[in-house]
């Protein structure tokens, strides 16, 4: 029944679609939905998925690799360097603290010291997949709890390499025979002495940094120039696969390597394009990963001794939470941030699966000990979203301060996201002026040559097609306050504005219009902020002509303002009429008719000429009349 790949795919996809949409409808995190789907289709309830669950888990771990690549993309190297203290400090404290406490706990339960040590290693590690997915979903990446969580997880990703390296030293049997069974851990590093291992690690990091800068970016530019979109997708996958391969080859965590690769590429103009390309695949793979975790929960083991498992489960979550809370306190996090950090990372992570099964193969752990810990790991992971939910709904509201509310006013420029579409002559002027106010708009442009050139001038420009919703989304349209559209092509302008209006009606649109007729169309689409490129410039010119003829500048300024107001009013009035007749053939004739209408309705000698401000002539005449009578 479970043999065919197609059937498996159907089971997983259907499970995901049903459970996740139910979870989302209930306002829960998608992670809960996936885990639930996994439990449902797993061997103990519906039985669609049997032994192959483990293979799927291994395959789906690639989702974690992609996720770290994407996280890396969002962290620029200089920010990464700034985080080094939190990574070492918080991460180190958390890992050492948790290992100590859980080692004590498991020796008290009469476990052998080696077993306790291995288990405490596994316990110290949290789940990057679950924690980061939740943090991203809740938009907490920029909060202190988000970056602290991330630092700790990153430290764990690094420390796990050393843990895996240390395991053979604890082995009860003669190591070589058992290690043979696990080719995945037989890698380049094991055959080298310690000094060379460190060298190899440093070397591979250097390789990633250099290939990123001097190989990958130029390659992406070439690919972008071909204009074939699927090539870019292929290139994105190639990058992630290649980095993972290199990392596994030297025995480092592929996730860590992917993260580094992401950081290297985060400064490139392809950041958003890569993000939008990989995002859906990452989400699906992560979903698969969560489902596999759900399916791997062994209910028979639970049924055998539910109280032991329940007790250990609570104890582990509690001791992880205590260490995290203290870590947060030492690093002076505010109470609500400490709580988010504490409950977000209080689970055992996916590395435990690797560590535990490796330890088992080295004969450190016995079968039942491993089963017990695997079940507990899966359970802690499944409980995380639920604990997070309790924290969010019941504890945090009482604690009060949410970081997003109390932002000081001088962060106005930074806290409001502006997206600028099109960076031609029009858009670049807009962008330069915004920049003079400290407002760094996220810029999207279609021309990769121009992107390249502008980046050399120090602008932050990204390459991509703004009529694609996923690209707008990875540029952050969901959090954007405004989108400025300065594209020259009217049909692209219409597509972009329609798309944003439909999916993100709260984003305010500021749109460039070529002329009256484009403005009519945009007005009829319901867009209010329209900037005709032909209005201000031509009036500026006319004003200067009149000034050179001897007319006073201040009066001209006022008259120009009057004219703009008059013209905007007539534009809005005529837009309604133009909707009635969309026939293209009559367009030319209509335009002439309309010019005629405009000219005949125009105020020739308008308001300023006849206003009486600062003009005493009428007073003089009134007085003369008074005197004569």
């Amino acid at each position: 029944m479970t043999g065919s790949i197609l059937f498996q795919a159907i089971v997983f996809l259907a499970g995901a679609i049903i459970c996740v949409s139910i979870a989302k409808r209930l306002g829960l995190s998608s992670v809960i939905g996936y885990l639930l789907a996994g439990v449902l289709i797993g061997p103990y309830i519906l039985g669609f998925i049997g032994e192959e669950g483990d293979d799927i888990l291994h395959f789906a771990e690639f989702g974690v690799v992609m996720m770290l690549f994407l996280i890396g993309l969002e962290i620029e190297p200089k920010n990464f360097w700034k985080m080094r203290k939190t990574i070492l400090g918080m991460g180190g404290l958390q890992v050492v603290g948790t290992m100590l406490l859980s080692y004590m706990f498991f020796t008290l339960l009469d476990f052998d010291w080696k077993v306790s040590l291995v288990i405490s290693m596994a316990v110290a590690l949290s789940s990057t997949a679950i924690a980061m997915q939740t943090i991203k979903e809740k938009g907490l990446m920029d909060t202190t709890s988000g970056s602290s969580s991330f630092s700790i997880l990153l430290f764990q990703d690094i420390i796990v390499i050393f843990m895996l390296g240390a395991l053979p030293l604890l082995s009860n049997a003669t190591a070589p025979s058992s290690a043979d069974n696990h080719e995945e851990h037989l890698n380049l590093l094991d055959s080298l002495p310690i000094g060379f291992q460190t060298l190899a690690i440093i070397l591979s990091v250097v390789v990633i940094v250099f290939t990123g800068k001097y190989l990958i970016v130029p390659m992406l530019r070439k690919v972008a120039k071909t204009g074939v979109r699927e090539l870019l997708i292929a290139a994105a996958f190639l990058i992630v696969f290649a980095i993972s391969f290199l990392m596994e080859y030297v025995g480092l965590s592929p996730a860590l390597g992917a993260f580094l690769g992401g950081v290297v590429l985060s400064n490139s103009e392809f950041k958003h394009e890569l993000e939008s390309t990989l995002e859906p695949f990452k989400n699906l793979l992560l979903g698969l990963f969560f489902m596999a975790v759900g399916a791997s929960i062994n209910f028979i083991v639970i049924a055998k001794n539910p109280f032991t498992i329940g007790g250990i489960l609570v104890a582990i979550i509690a001791l992880k939470a205590i260490v995290l809370f203290i870590t947060g306190a030492i690093f002076k996090l505010k109470l609500d941030q400490k709580l988010l950090l504490t409950f977000g990372l209080a689970q055992i992570g996916e590395f435990a699966f690797v560590l535990l099964s490796f330890a088992f193969s080295l004969n450190i752990l016995e079968q039942d000990q491993m089963d017990l810990m695997l079940v507990i790991t899966a359970l802690t992971m499944s409980l995380t979203p639920i604990i997070g939910l309790i924290n969010e709904r019941f504890i945090l509201p009482k604690v009060g301060t949410k970081e997003s509310i109390k932002r000081p006013m001088d962060h106005v420029a930074k806290s409001q996201k502006i997206i600028l579409v099109g960076f031609g002559h029009f858009g670049s002027t807009v962008g330069r002026f915004l920049r003079s106010y400290g407002v760094e708009a996220t810029i999207l442009d279609q021309d990769s040559n121009r992107v390249d050139f502008l980046r050399k001038m120090g602008f932050e420009v990204y390459y991509g097609d703004a009529t694609r919703l996923d690209l707008l989304e990875s540029a952050g349209i969901a959090e954007a306050k405004m989108l400025i559209c300065t594209v020259e092509n009217p049909s692209i302008t219409k597509q972009v504005t329609k798309l944003v209006k439909e999916h993100y009606p709260n984003v305010e649109l500021m749109v460039r219009a070529k002329n009256r007729y484009e403005a009519y169309d945009l007005l009829n689409l319901g867009i209010d902020n329209i900037y005709r490129e032909t209005l201000d410039t031509s009036l500026s010119l006319a004003k200067d002509v009149l000034s050179k003829m001897g007319f006073r500048k201040y009066t001209l300024n006022k008259q120009v303002q009057n004219f703009i107001k008059y013209d905007e009013d007539s534009l809005r009035r005529l837009a309604k009429e133009s909707k009635l007749d969309e026939n293209y053939i009559f367009k030319a004739r209509k335009e002439i008719e309309e010019q005629e209408k405009l000219l005949s309705q125009d105020f020739k000698r308008g308001i300023v000429e006849y206003d009486n401000h600062w003009d005493s002539e009428h007073i003089r005449k009134a007085l003369e009349k008074q005197n004569n009578s």
């Binding site: 006073r552 500048k553 201040y554 009066t555 600062w614 005493s616």
Partner: protein, 198 residues
């Protein structure tokens, strides 16, 4: 010869009969810089550094403007607010204008009789000009009585030309070394005998 800066502000100069006649008589005189504020800064974006430089190059500053609602037009107030900066024009190190001379040249629609405690405007022009007088004082400048062309609504072109000649004579007089005591306590410079005799 003293250098004179005429800071002229009129939002609708092209419509002002009186000021056109007055300005035409003095703007091209030697040693006079005629600075038309509304033409220089139609969008009210005053170039403060350029204005400061202009001030330092002159000895006598004339605020020439019509009298609107008992005060100056908005751009001239803007000019005062922006150019006369702390620690430049006033304050402990604000000595840039010290020792210079300053006065108002104004045109009013109402005649002089209306500007007194019995008249419809209740106060004299000198009283209304107190803020300008004190501004000059604070900047360490000597404030001279105003030259005021009043009742312009009822003055014909000939009468206005008379005033314009007097304005020109005043400029000539100011260019020579004169002190406050020259005016003998006159409330308006229009009244000093020197203008008639010249």
């Amino acid at each position: 010869m003293k250098k004179i800066l005429v800071l002229f502000s009129h939002p609708k100069f092209e419509k002002s009969r009186a000021n056109n006649i007055l300005v035409n008589n003095i703007k091209d005189k030697e040693g006079v810089t005629f600075h038309d504020l509304y033409e220089a800064y139609p969008d009210f974006h005053i170039d403060v550094d350029a204005e400061k430089e202009l001030l330092t190059k002159h000895d006598i500053i004339i605020w020439h403007h019509p009298f609107y609602w008992y005060s100056c037009p908005p751009l001239m107030k803007q000019w005062i607010d922006m150019v006369l900066e702390f620690d430049w024009a006033y304050g402990p190190n604000g000595v840039a204008l010290k020792g210079k001379t300053c006065l108002n040249v104004i045109t009013t629609g109402g005649s002089r009789e209306l500007y007194c405690s019995q008249g419809s405007n209740s106060f004299s022009v000198n009283e209304f000009l107190r803020p300008f007088e004190q501004t000059a004082n604070l900047c360490g400048m000597t404030y001279f009585p105003p030259f005021a062309v009043m009742g312009t609504h009822l003055l014909n072109d000939e009468a206005l030309k008379e005033h314009a000649v007097q304005y020109s004579n005043l400029i000539d007089l100011l260019q020579k070394e004169i002190t406050l005591s020259t005016f003998n306590g006159c409330a308006f410079l229009n009244d000093i005998p020197q203008l008639k005799t010249l």
